[in-house]
């Protein structure tokens, strides 16, 4: 019976309990819900699916296969660790938002059709913004709004794509959408729109800036949640819909490379992690673009390992933020003296993301890189190697070095709270466990007929050479004073276009356009005002419809709803 219940819904419905219980119990409910969700997944076997007929469409609200199961497992695992990390938080909004967010991400992963996917896709956008707004600062409010516009925009693109695609093919099945030639140029417009929607959420170049803009403004615990779900949901969606899409290979390499340079000069360490997240997504995108069994296994396993070490990195920086009130590299340094456990966990996460042998990144990222090597994609291979040195720079060295070592900032604080420490140590344990013993992870990957052995003499040796010589380069750069000092400030990125250039352009046009824009704006608000007065006149406390308030309101919404369905119906024909 329980396996008939859509996964994810457990958390969305369960989150409704949270506000009803005592404040001290709320975080515990949030810890318990992913456990329940995970238990449900264990009962589900590949092949299970549930249909629901809505008007002319048969929705596959649940479809279980090996790809969705891996993402389901890791989403629940990440949710459990993050919720434990947030055990001290006394803010109902954050707990509810986080659970709805996780639930909808899981729901989306098990969605068998594009309409169900769209619904969950939008819920992740709307619920997650509260994890940013809960910082309750002006900056967080603003970046949260920008985040919401872009995320909902991705949903609108998806919906538009689904409508066009359904009109063309009469199918809303969420399977492989790209043709066998792997070319976007021969794909239908609907498929291209869906691709773009996935691209926004996966932070493709030029569509990426919401990530670095919003994540550093999230709450201490909220950003840990954010780091795990949105982008990896998009990676899952790409892996399902667009495996073997050629353009993804060069695109992925660009994604691994350009954030590296920004990460070098960025002062806010949580923003460095956001750039680093973007770079890690690049490896997964390359794997999807190649589209072979080994590379897709590589993408999936890398997403799995990445969710853990990236959450762990955000946890350690969250702990620093919680204790010191900042994550600016210019203010920090020498924290290893007061936060030794956090420091150790950070170093383990840094080793994992850099792909050091015996840590998780080593056994996952290398699958993608090996496949690039086997296929003799020279430039792609070289690009990924440079990016690997870049990961060593920003996540392997910069994050732990400037927060915990470097010059002693004189800041003396307490070690992180016990619940944060438990979550971090558990995360660090998993990073090492996967690195030392990858077999259980390999066993749950989507393709089982591929053999991959990460621990060969050559692979261990070449990885160590690349990474340790990179560390040596850092040491030389520091000793010679060539390494650029950290500097307060912001670095221009693509968000400049919509935060500076676009407003300036609008200002310029309105200044030169003889007040046309002002006129349009004024007349629009006048019309809105008139409409509002009319509605108030009819529906307000003294209005005609006040006499039939409840029935009137229901009738009004029912008509609106019917109209919506009617439109959908005609579109679908």
């Amino acid at each position: 019976m329980i396996e008939a219940f859509p996964p994810g819904l457990v958390l969305i419905l369960g989150s409704l309990i949270i506000p009803l219980v005592h404040k001290r119990l709320q975080p515990m409910v949030a810890v318990a819900l992913p456990v329940v969700g995970f238990a449900q997944l264990l009962l589900m076997a590949p092949g299970v699916s549930h249909q629901l007929v809505l008007f002319d469409y048969e929705l596959t609200v649940v479809r279980v296969d090996r790809l969705s199961l891996v993402f389901g497992y890791i989403f629940y695992l990440a949710a459990f660790l993050s919720a434990f990390y947030a055990l001290h938080v006394k803010d109902s909004v954050q707990h509810v938002a986080a659970m709805i967010y996780v639930g909808s991400a899981v729901g989306a992963v098990f969605a068998g059709d594009l309409i169900t996917l769209f619904v969950y896709w939008e819920i992740t956008a709307i619920s997650s913004v509260f994890l940013i707004w809960s910082s309750r600062t002006e900056a967080a409010y603003r970046s949260g709004l920008r985040y919401l516009v872009i995320q909902v925009g991705s949903g609108v693109l998806l919906l538009a794509g689904v409508i066009v695609h359904a009109a063309n093919t009469a199918s809303i099945d969420f399977g492989k959408l790209i043709g066998d030639d792997g070319l976007l140029s021969t794909a239908s417009p609907g498929v291209v729109l869906i691709f773009l929607a996935f691209g926004v959420k996966s932070a493709f170049p030029f569509l990426h800036n919401w990530l670095q803009d919003a994540y550093p403004d999230g709450t201490v615990t909220g950003t840990v949640f954010l780091s795990a779900f949105t982008t990896k949901l998009a990676i899952y969606a790409l892996a399902r819909g667009f495996p073997g899409t050629e353009i993804l290979v060069p695109m992925g390499v660009v994604m691994t490379l350009f954030p590296v340079f920004y990460a070098v000069i960025e002062n806010d360490l949580r923003k460095v992690l956001a750039y680093s997240l973007n770079n890690q997504l690049g490896y997964m995108v390359v794997g999807i673009g190649i589209g072979t069994a080994l590379s897709l296994n590589g993408t999936t396993s890398h997403a799995f390992a990445h969710i853990l070490y990236k959450a762990l990195l955000f946890m350690t920086m969250g702990a620093v933020l919680y204790r010191t009130g900042t994550t600016k590299a210019t203010e920090l340094g020498g924290l290893y003296k007061s936060m030794p456990i956090t420091t150790t966990c950070c170093i383990i996460a840094a080793a994992s993301i850099s792909g050091f042998p015996f840590f998780s990144g080593f056994v996952t990222k290398s699958m993608v890189i090996s496949e690039v090597e086997h296929l003799h994609l020279t430039w792609i291979f070289l690009g990924l190697l440079v990016a690997s040195a870049g990961v060593m720079e920003h996540s392997g060295i910069k994050i732990p070095f400037f927060a915990f070592f470097a010059h002693d900032s004189g800041i003396r604080v307490k070690e992180a709270p016990w619940n944060m420490l438990v979550a971090m140590v558990a995360g660090a344990f998993l990073c090492v466990a996967i690195g030392l013993y990858p077999a259980p992870l390999y066993d749950i990957l989507p393709f089982q007929d591929v053999d991959y052995e990460p621990y060969t003499v050559a692979h261990v040796l070449t990885s160590l050479q690349l990474l340790i010589f990179a560390i040596l380069a850092f040491a030389v750069l520091m000793r010679t004073g060539i390494y650029p000092p950290e500097k307060r400030g912001v670095n221009l990125d693509f968000d400049w276009t919509y935060r500076k250039a676009l407003p300036a352009l609008i200002g310029w046009i309105s200044a030169r356009g003889g007040g046309v824009l002002e006129h349009l704006y004024a007349s629009a608000s006048k019309q809105l005002d008139r409409a509002y007065r009319l509605i108030y006149h009819l529906h307000g406390p003294k209005g005609v419809f006040a006499r039939t308030w409840t029935t009137g309101a229901i009738a009004f919404w029912a008509v609106l709803g019917l109209l919506g369905f009617l439109l959908l119906y005609f579109w679908g024909r």
Binding site: E373, F405, L461, Q465, A470, I471, A473, N491
Partner: protein, 81 residues
């Protein structure tokens, strides 16, 4: 501060030790490359200690490129306010 426990890394001598330790490890890795047999998919990949030199050079270039980029990209903290 004065009554605080002195940490191992507080001594300049120990930082130097780490630095030279790193150099020694790199030399060992370079020598190991000559002894180990590894299959090269690309001809240049088989050059002695290719990965070591590549890692060093790539890291160096990334940092220098970032430093140069900062000249164009850097703005004061209140730029967007």
């Amino acid at each position: 501060m004065s009554d605080e426990k002195k940490h191992w890394l507080d001594e300049r001598r120990n930082v130097d030790r780490i630095y030279w330790g790193l150099v020694i490890v790199c030399v060992i890795l370079g020598v190991a490359d000559l002894l180990a047999h590894r299959h090269a998919y690309f001809s240049w990949e088989g050059l002695p200690n290719f990965y070591g030199f590549f890692g060093f050079a790539a890291f160096w270039c990334i940092v220098i490129a970032g430093k140069k980029l900062r000249r164009f990209l850097w703005r004061p903290e209140d730029y967007y306010d």
